[in-house]
Symmetry: C2
């Protein structure tokens, strides 16, 4: 019986790390998670990770052949294969590819989570037929993966796609990056919380949200109150959508994409977020683009293991670019990125 070729996809978060093996069709097997324990060095993380993975994989290595390893991690430098002083991991500056190659002599790619989501969207999600699109990931912050002619834009140093850190308001909200007015201070799970508190200060209407402290509130709660008709919660979505729609109209003037795809928690709020984004995007765009840019919700999110699949999709893209005909076993030794 021939083995099914699979890629190990790893999604490293601040708290937990998820992993699983993914075949080219997007079937995900053996998925599991370990605590990231970001206070410890990277070496001990990968030891625990591969220990955990190996034990699972050994039970099935009569079925699967591992052909690559793909890592979604904050502060990834795709070109160098390094992770460079991530905010929430005490790893310093490390060469991840070298580290992983001590365990597996296989092709390795590293990228950030937004680029992984964009690749996953292209291979398994809503962007299957798109060559030019923008993936916006709405989490604690706002990430973006820019796809031009079917490839991720990495830029000169691998740091392209920081749309969350475009400044949309002069002297605006303070951002974790040390500057003010970054898009993600308005448009993200944290951004909408900040908006709620600004709105509570401006309006005098009663609102269920007046019962909550800043630390006890989250975007899901704001969503639920908005559905119940709470005025401040609804205004918060409208304001968030306006900020995002306007910022996206500038992104469109840069890249003329055919679609913009929203991924992450806030994107699950349906029309509450889509409607204002669509309205302000359409009214703000230059005439050249009006009516031509689709605004879509991620379909990668429909999968339980979206982040793992996104990471794995990057490796599949690379493997297929080098060995399009499928004779992967012969080609993979050449694939050290």
């Amino acid at each position: 019986m021939s083995l099914t070729q699979v890629v190990l996809g790893i999604d490293i978060g601040g708290t937990n790390t998820f992993f699983g093996i993914v075949d080219e069709e997007g079937n995900c097997y053996l998925h599991d998670e370990i605590p990231t324990q970001g206070n410890l060095p990277a070496e001990s993380f990968f030891e625990r990770l591969f220990d955990s993975f190996r034990r699972k994989f050994e039970t099935r290595n009569d079925k699967f052949e591992l052909v690559g390893i793909s890592l979604g991690v904050p502060s990834a430098n795709h070109f160098k294969g390094t992770v460079e002083n991530p905010n929430n991991l005490n790893w310093g500056y490390i060469n991840v590819v070298e580290l992983i190659n001590k365990y597996y002599d296989l092709p390795v790619v590293v990228t950030n989570d937004a680029n992984a989501a964009a690749f996953g969207e292209m291979k398994y999600g809503a962007a299957k037929n798109f060559k030019n699109f923008i993936e916006i990931t709405l989490g604690t912050g706002l990430g973006s993966g820019l796809v031009v002619d079917g490839n991720i834009v990495y830029g000169q140093d691998g740091f392209a796609g920081e749309i969350g850190h475009t400044i949309v308001e002069e002297n605006g909200r303070y951002c974790g990056c040390g500057r003010r007015g970054c898009l993600e201070t308005y448009v993200s799970a944290t951004g909408i919380k900040r908006t709620v508190f600004e709105l509570l200060s401006i309006y005098h209407e009663d609102s269920c949200l007046r019962e909550y402290s800043y630390n006890s509130i989250n975007s899901k709660l704001i969503y639920e109150f908005a559905l119940k008709g709470d005025k401040v919660a609804n205004l918060a979505f409208e304001y968030t959508g306006k900020k995002l729609g306007r910022a996206l109209s500038n992104v469109v003037a840069h890249l003329n994409p055919e679609a913009i795809i929203l991924f992450g928690g806030l994107a699950l709020s349906g029309d509450l977020i889509l409607s204002p984004v669509q309205r302000h995007l359409e009214s703000s765009m230059l005439h050249l683009y009006k009516g031509k840019v689709k605004l879509l919700v991620s379909r990668l999110m429909n999968y339980d293991n979206a982040a793992i699949m996104g990471a794995a999709a990057i490796m599949w893209h690379k493997l297929k670019a080098v060995v399009p005909s499928g004779l992967l076993t012969e080609g993979k030794d050449k694939l050290k990125f």
Copy 2:
């Protein structure tokens, strides 16, 4: 004696059209100009153009072999080979490639002037070794050519790179595009004029510029007064540079280029424009990019025929991409874009 292969580069402006043949090394021959007469249909324009070109070329066709034709023109759709309702030409919607192929059965490319400048910069100017850079053309408006991995970003419909129409000021200056606050209303030859008039209204200092009507002033005059120490003229450059530097810091967050190159009249103002752009760009950028993005003045502008060379560079890029080894004569028939 073997013939020198050349591309016919054509730069169509609102008033005059410049053309010339350019060899791969960037030597430009037989350059000339004709009035564009944009009120007349495109058919009559190309008849005059090729009539004029043919008469010059016939005297030298023992020396040169024409291998392609390349056109820089407003509202060009690179993918379709069309020009679509340009503002200052009464051409409507025409297929330029088909029209030109009636005269010459050769590969034809069309693009706008900013993309032509970017290609020219890459082949003959300041961007010879760059794969990721932004060309900013400062004329009556502000154009931009975005280069990622050595290729122009065209986007889905060929309209990428409209950085001049990113909105940098909510409810800002009225723009010819029908919206408000576009970057080019601040940063362009027209923009700096508008800034002078705003500053004359704000400050009460004496200024030589108070003697001029809006219609009698131009950016060169503002430059000359700034050199003489006129306060308003100097403030106008500072303000223009601030607006551009800040806008570019957002462009950098999109594309992470290694360089930004300024082309066009305002770029000739030296430190008057470069210094504030550099200062505000550097102070506005996200930490990831600080100290890494070169700000340069075009070296393509050093040539008398920069626009012609820019147009020709696009065709040379295409020809070489298809027939890298140089056997152009055999390959060119396949090169209908």
